[in-house]
Symmetry: C2
Subunit: 243 residues, 2 copies
């Protein structure tokens, strides 16, 4: 599935979340990255005002969230589920670092629904839950302090999925908002500089010391706008008049 369409096949499963605020933060994190399907397994408190508050403009994600009684129910219909864990454990499904896991999930989304699964804030996933997932994901965080809270973990994974879904499809940002100067306008500016510097005595035409090539290189790198050329030439003219 090309690009962003794959994101619509990714569900986020929060198993037994304790804090409704974290559910809201997860919803907001999801929506900012274009994910919409939230599944909640036996949430301690939901719906809840604190979830709504933290969701901010992502209330629709909360309103459409599916509340499930069992973990297995949240995975119904998926062809791959990847459980976030902080460490490798016995009998775990094949572990992946996040970038590789996101790549695999997006590729598999071509075949059907996929899930990213987050355990309880304190206890994580049970062994039984982890065993129902075909992959485990680990975020290669700072080994001395790898403690992302639930909302932050959802945000990182949602961004990584979006980044990969967008990869190569990000339209280049225009680097100037003004009208770009033409080649001739820049060359006239360079000539103007040369004339002014000779006039001021800074540049000896007998020993030009590569000043002009360096100015041309600077202007080229900067990508001058037409208005900037006018400002610089106006400044040069005013200085020349003072001489």
């Amino acid at each position: 599935m090309a690009g962003l369409a794959a994101l619509s096949r990714v569900r986020v499963v929060l198993s037994r979340p304790s804090h409704p605020g974290n559910i809201g933060a997860a919803a907001r994190a999801m929506k900012t990255m274009g994910l919409a399907q939230l599944y909640l397994v036996a949430p301690k408190a939901f719906p809840h005002a604190e979830a709504d508050a933290r969701a901010s403009g992502a209330l629709d994600v909360l309103q459409n969230a599916k509340v499930c009684d069992s973990f297995a129910e949240a995975l119904e219909g998926t062809v791959m589920a990847a459980a976030l864990t902080s460490r490798q454990r016995d009998l775990c499904a094949p572990p992946r670092w996040l970038p590789e896991a996101a790549d695999e999930l997006l590729a598999t989304a071509q075949l059907g629904a996929v899930a990213v699964v987050f355990g309880n804030e304190t206890f994580g996933l049970t062994n039984e839950e982890a065993a129902l997932c075909q992959r485990t994901v680990m975020i290669p965080a700072n080994p001395e302090y790898a403690s992302l809270n639930l909302g932050a973990a959802v945000q990182v994974i949602a961004w990584e999925l979006r980044r990969q879904a967008l990869a190569g499809n990000l339209r280049a940002l225009p680097q100037t908002l003004g009208e770009p100067a033409t080649h001739e306008e820049v060359e006239r500016l360079v000539a103007h500089f040369e004339q002014a510097m000779i006039g001021s005595g800074f540049l000896d035409p007998e020993k030009p010391r590569r000043l002009i090539p360096r100015l041309r290189r600077l202007f080229g790198r900067a990508g001058l706008e037409r208005e900037e050329v006018a400002i610089l030439r106006g400044a040069l003219s005013s200085l020349e008049r003072k001489i």
Copy 2:
């Protein structure tokens, strides 16, 4: 600068943050990704108990944070500063999508200190502040809802920097924790399956229908552990005894 060492040259600048909780969340986000240098320009309330609470295990980042009176002071010593903005604006420094900005910042960190700059939660950066930055960064978020809170934005950018700093340096995760089965052990398992399926009548040796190659392919893909081979052979033996 190779890999993670570049992260030690990246400072995070929060300009006039209103909510101390966001300062704490930023500190936590930074530390999880290996960033340590936090600069605060005229924070509304700092130090503050809420900042400490949200920082969780990243109190050291708060304790080492530099509080600056002016924006310019926070950029002292940097060779590049990139300001997060949500949109392109007039007279802005060259805009970059996050992945490209992170790449450029890490490359520039070879030359000196670099900064990622975040404005006030509500008002963003002033034009004067933005003008002191050599780049603007935009997160290519969902155009219909691009509202990351301050802590989430720091988390996404910190992860992107770490991801790129790690790229290619992530040690492959071992895919089995148990002792892997040898070639001969897997082949003996395949032979055992063949014998049992012939015994049960499921496999007709005259018309084998590619059953054995498919089993071998499955076991190869799974990467069997020695103990798993033992379990499967034990199960086959017990079934054979019943026949």
